[in-house]
């Protein structure tokens, strides 16, 4: 569904030019980082790219219904991909950032649980609104049977719609998507924070304690920025609505993975150069 009611499109698969240039850009970014500062900064860039991949992959799990869902004509949450991904991922990012002092593993777990919890609450409230507010049962139009519970949808689906509500599989997909998004966002934040704590005192000529608030501030805002870039690239890949992991559109995720890897590599390179040089 486009904003102006135009057909949303784009070709299937990836273009050969896109793949080749993408791989060249990815290798160029990694090589540039290795030349400028091998070791800690290079490892961080690799992990930032992994974080971007997790965000791009996770966004595909989140059930998005857009405006049709608000009218009960398609399953999913009635808002855009970017908004939902930003909500889930940023909730996770804040959870992870709070736990950053407690160690790498705890921070990542905090991020994943924060994002997953936010999606779980959202999905629950969406179903409350659908079932008690709009009086529609949860039914998918894309598949005949729920892959997890085995429930059939056909008898409950209203005529002329693509389904409605939030079936169990979409709910589970949403929680998985929130976990992956929160995990990816927190990974980017923790890695950038490590780089800034390491290199900013040298480049600014200040003590580590004085630099800490600045490192936290810059790492936070850049993690938010990179999160939104990756979420929008994944949203462009989805073009409109997606029900969750059982949706046929889910199979498109490889190209978003490729796109997010290149975008994270370039954005991460610029973000790390800022501290290192």
């Amino acid at each position: 569904m486009s904003a102006l009611g135009g057909g949303s499109g784009g070709g299937e698969g990836m273009t050969p030019v896109g793949i080749v240039v993408g791989i060249i850009l990815l290798i160029a970014a990694l090589a540039a980082m290795y030349v400028i500062s091998p070791g800690f900064a290079f490892t961080s860039l690799v992990l930032v790219i992994v974080g971007g991949l997790l965000i791009g992959f996770g966004v595909h799990f989140v059930p998005v219904g857009g405006a049709p869902a608000a009218m009960g004509q398609s399953p999913g949450i009635a808002t855009g991909v970017t908004m939902l991904a930003a909500g889930a991922g940023l909730a996770g990012l804040f959870g992870g950032a709070w736990a950053a002092e407690l160690g790498f593993g705890v921070a990542l777990a905090g991020g994943a649980i924060g994002g997953g919890l936010m999606m779980a609450v959202t999905c629950l409230m969406v179903n409350v609104v659908y079932v008690w507010g709009m009086g529609v049962p949860a039914a998918s139009g894309k598949v005949a049977k729920d892959p997890i519970t085995g429930d059939t949808f056909e008898a409950y689906k209203s005529q002329g719609t693509e389904g409605h509500g939030l079936p169990f599989i979409s709910y589970v997909g949403g929680v998985i998507g929130g976990c992956l998004g929160g995990l990816g966002g927190t990974l980017i934040y923790v890695e950038l924070l490590g780089v800034y704590e390491e290199f900013l005192p040298i480049s600014m000529g200040a003590s580590a304690e004085a630099v800490l608030p600045i490192a936290v501030g810059i790492a936070g805002i850049i993690a938010v920025g990179m999160f939104l870039v990756n979420a929008v690239i994944a949203a462009y890949n989805i073009t409109g609505t997606i029900e969750g992991p059982h949706d046929p559109k889910f199979k498109r995720f490889p190209r978003a993975i490729m796109g997010c890897a290149v975008a994270s590599a370039i954005c991460g390179l610029l973000a790390i150069i800022m501290a290192v040089m």
Partner: protein, 289 residues
């Protein structure tokens, strides 16, 4: 390939809006540097004007881009613009400290160039790797990344009177009459940039999202964009009380309020012009017995 659906006929060509917005914003950013020669940062408000010009141009870009079926809604354009813009702006603000060119005059133009390169790469990813196949996507995302970087840099310059990284990280608190260096009270250490980030993201996505529809007209949409810009300026001028002198902050505040009142009234007039009919609503009177 998707087909363009023209939102409104006529109006100013997009390239003209681009030229006015880009050149005007860069000139305004350079004017804030005059602060370095003044006893007080009185020229801070030019940063806000740069942000308004960038918003005005960015709204036309969003309109240009979203006339193709993106499938994700208009707000995603604002999100990717500011998301990539903040990275370009932070790197740009540190250009003078990197050892190539030591003058801070490189910062505004350098930021725009970094943002353009980053935007072209993200545009290429969306167009060719994600295979959106939209002819204006690469140019539009490059423009939006520049818009995002200029908005953040302009509002930053308005809040702190400077766009140099070293000024953004230095803050001080007075403790028993002794001035102490405290980075927590600096612009970046206090993460005031997060507020500026959201003000810019909402501003750039809102105007076209609010005005789109069968009766959209370019001058009304762009007037709403300018109004959003001045509204953001009012918020930032209040933030600037914490960083610049009282006189400079008051000057910024007065200029933003004047700009906002003017653009709001203009927008109201244009909305009346475009409406099918305008009824001045009156309260329902009780029938006298």
């Amino acid at each position: 390939m998707t087909v363009a659906i023209t939102a409104s006929e006529g109006g100013m060509p997009h390239n003209k809006a681009l030229a006015i917005g880009l050149i005007g914003a860069i000139i305004c950013l350079y004017l804030t540097y005059v602060n370095a020669y003044l006893p007080q940062p009185l020229f801070s408000f030019f940063g806000g004007l740069a942000a308004v010009l960038a918003l005005w141009w960015g709204t036309d870009t969003v309109k240009h881009l979203c006339s193709y079926g993106l499938g994700t809604g208009v707000p995603s354009a604002g999100m990717i613009a500011l998301g990539s813009g903040v990275i370009a702006m932070l790197l740009g603000s540190k250009l003078s400290a990197m050892g190539f060119i030591s003058t801070p005059l490189i910062i505004p133009i350098g930021t725009v160039i970094i943002a353009a390169i980053l935007g072209i790469i993200i545009g290429f990813i969306s167009d060719k790797i994600v295979n959106m196949n939209i002819p204006v996507l690469m140019v539009s995302l490059a423009e939006l990344c520049m818009v995002g970087a200029i908005i953040i840099m302009g509002l930053t310059a308005m809040a702190t009177g400077s766009f140099v990284f070293a000024d953004l990280v230095s803050g001080s608190t007075t403790f028993f009459g002794i001035v102490m260096l405290d980075t927590t009270s600096s612009y970046l250490g206090g993460c005031v940039i997060a507020v500026v980030f959201m003000l810019g993201a909402l501003g750039v996505q809102h105007a076209f999202n609010a005005c789109l529809g069968p009766n959209e007209s370019q001058d009304r949409t762009l007037m709403l964009a300018a109004e959003c810009g001045f509204l953001s300026m009012i918020t930032v001028s209040i933030i600037s009380f914490a960083f610049v002198s009282f006189l400079s902050a008051i000057l910024s505040f007065i200029i933003s309020v004047i700009g906002w009142v003017y653009t709001y009234r203009k927008y109201f007039e244009l909305s009346k012009r475009d409406a099918f009919m305008w009824l001045d609503a009156k309260p329902i009177r009780e029938k006298e017995a």
